[in-house]
Symmetry: C2
Subunit: 228 residues, 2 copies
């Protein structure tokens, strides 16, 4: 229990809970392990639980009838999902699957509602998380409609850097090999060829480098200045 | 004042306010008239106010450097905007412009925050409005990534019917001539030619008819069954 408490007490939203509410959460949270590719929920099932990622990564995605996949979100440690549709009776609007071996906590939707409605700080934080998701989705939709494919991919790289990147000593942004060319393709609906061509172009312009283990080094500031 | 009260008291969110809170809102709300095409706010300005549409329609949109437009939302009577970014200091993520002669009320962001934080019913309603917007954006993003252009346009027509259509006596859905071919094109990032071609195809299949004044009659149920 104290391992769990230490793991989650600084998560966004959870850290806004007072001591009593946190103790209550720790009493009711169910913790499960998922292997890489393990299914957490599938599109169309009822929304009964809210999930907290304690360790690992989760992709939220849709698939068309031909098996073509679109990744809506990649969630990581500290993230809560799905927020869509909590507080009303709905079905999950997408699938969720572990992207690596993961530890995930969950509580019932109604328990989550009671927790947050009792606590204005949690509510304000939750509004802000939902607002960020709305702005993120609007931006991506805008990019899909207004931008050429190549620019969509550059913007995606910038977003991944902001969210998942680590700044190296010489100011580049390091993206670990967690995102494959296929993953990026599924995020913007491009072919893997388009992603590779954008990489090649950026490498030629010295805005992108590949490291030895499949990760990327992005000249984040230069890239942002040029295309941001 | 009583005209204003009668106009807005049944709006979503506002109807959840108790009598005191409603009276307070009516005391602080500023009401302005906008002509068709009148600018309400522009992208990049600070978010100081929350707007309520009392009469008319508003488009929330983005423009690229070549002037190409993407319509994010079309808001109508009873809608509140923008919700993105309220409760934190941000700039507007898009432009807003009246789509017809409109009457719009507004209150300061901080006044809005006080109103809603004092009232759990309002909060739950607001969550549900935000959730609907998140699900709507996710669906549109999914359609942009996974669907062919023609199907994107069909899905857009279905969405417009659900949101703005009126059911006629013979079960068709009537869309008034408020949405031009150009508007639809700007919503999905298609050319006007693509929209016209989809219309022609649906008219040939007797799933769509044009009325005499520029509106559309959609065989909503048949269209949904075939493509929904």
């Amino acid at each position: 229990m104290s391992f769990l408490k230490d793991s989650i007490k600084n998560f966004p939203i959870i850290k806004e809970l007072n001591e009593n509410a946190l103790t209550h959460l720790l009493n009711i949270i169910r913790v499960r392990q998922y292997k890489n590719h393990g299914q957490i929920f599938s599109k169309g099932t009822s929304l009964n639980e809210i999930y907290f990622i304690i360790r690992g990564k989760v992709k939220i995605f849709n698939k068309d009838s031909c098996g073509k996949e679109q990744i809506v979100w990649i969630m990581q440690k500290g993230d809560i999902f799905p927020l869509e549709g909590f507080s009303r009776e709905v079905t999950f609007p997408a699938n969720a699957e572990a992207l690596e071996d993961s530890i995930i906590g969950s509580i019932g939707v109604h328990d989550f509602e009671s927790l947050i409605l009792d606590n204005p700080n949690v509510l304000i934080k939750l509004f802000s998380v939902m607002n960020e998701r709305i702005i993120d989705l609007q931006t991506r939709l805008e990019e899909q409609v207004l931008l050429e494919r190549n620019m969509q991919i550059v913007k995606l790289l910038l977003r991944l850097c902001e969210r998942y990147g680590e700044i190296t000593q010489n100011g580049q942004c390091h993206l670990k090999p967690q995102f494959t060319t296929t993953d990026l393709a599924k995020m913007v609906g491009a072919s893997r060829g388009s992603i590779s061509r954008t990489y090649t172009r950026l490498i030629k312009e010295q805005l992108l480098y590949k490291d030895n283990v499949g990760g990327l080094l992005v000249e984040f500031e230069k890239l942002k200045e040029k295309f941001g």
